[in-house]
Symmetry: C2
Subunit: 142 residues, 2 copies
DNA sequence: CATCACACTCTCCATTTGGTAAGTATAGAA
DNA sequence: TTCTATACTTACCAAATGGAGAGTGTGATG
């Protein structure tokens, strides 16, 4: 979205805030926001991770991998991901039925894009936890 | 989370799936998942972006920047971000009241971590849209 | 003939999320 | 005296989210 977010290095607070260059029209901005809202979903991210790790999984294996997901949410999330072009769904016409799910190039790319966030979360877990405890302690004492 | 997700380049589907090295214990995994769920929230991301772009904003300026957010959600999200150590909250004891919000080092880092996802969304918007249309067309014809 | 496996789909229900609107405290301006 | 600005907080309500569990179709197996 903003160029400030895009560039590494300490962001300059506002040395020249008058410039205000927005390279995107609001339509694109809205679409990007929507897409991120859809894709930054808890289950989507966990399924993405499972598939990136295991390569290709059938429905019930996925259900095992993504601990705690209900059948309903697994189906629902996989359908959305298929619609968005993140996974392919291969139905083997056998009985009992067998369906394999696999990440597309698009899905793999998104998985890589999320790397940064995973790494940040891992790296700063304790810092965040400490901040929370300090905050809660302050709140209690007042 | 997974090393596959962490490394750029086409992920190897499963040349040696037997290895299965998980460097993280489930506790950390759960914490990271929770943290990401909290932080990958729509409003959090938009506030993060506004603050990264503008540097420091008071409550009502933020409300203007983050289009469509309600007072309630703005307050709520800012409190969570403060608790997590992402923003600082500076109260100026004047009347009418004035409160300034600013990203911490931690908050800036998270903003940068999200870059990848914003860029991915921007870059693949049309691809996703095309996939959706194709999917919907298929669904209708059946 | 009953059972099981598998990948769903559907219904019902509880929780969560989030919006709207009203209230609060304070001092200066009209 | 009333109005305004500001940053909230609270109460209420509607919508979305998501879990539990039952139902479905089919062929192999006991």
């Amino acid at each position: 979205m903003s160029d400030v977010l895009r560039r590494p290095g300490p962001a300059q607070p506002n040395p020249m805030p008058a410039v205000e260059h927005r390279p995107l029209d609001p339509r694109v901005e809205r679409l990007v926001n929507d897409l991120i809202g859809r894709v930054a979903d808890k289950w989507t991210m966990l399924i993405l991770e499972a598939l990136a790790e295991k390569g290709e999984l059938r429905f019930s294996r996925l259900a095992d991998e993504v601990h705690g997901i209900s059948q309903k949410m697994l189906t629902q999330t996989l359908r959305q991901m298929e619609r968005d072009g993140l996974v392919t769904r291969t139905i083997h016409p056998v009985i009992p039925p067998r369906v394999d799910y696999k990440l597309t190039r698009l899905g793999l790319g998104l998985g890589q894009a999320f790397c940064g966030v995973w790494l940040w979360a891992e790296a700063h877990l304790e810092e965040v936890e400490a901040s929370r405890q300090a905050f809660d302690a302050r709140a209690v004492s007042r």
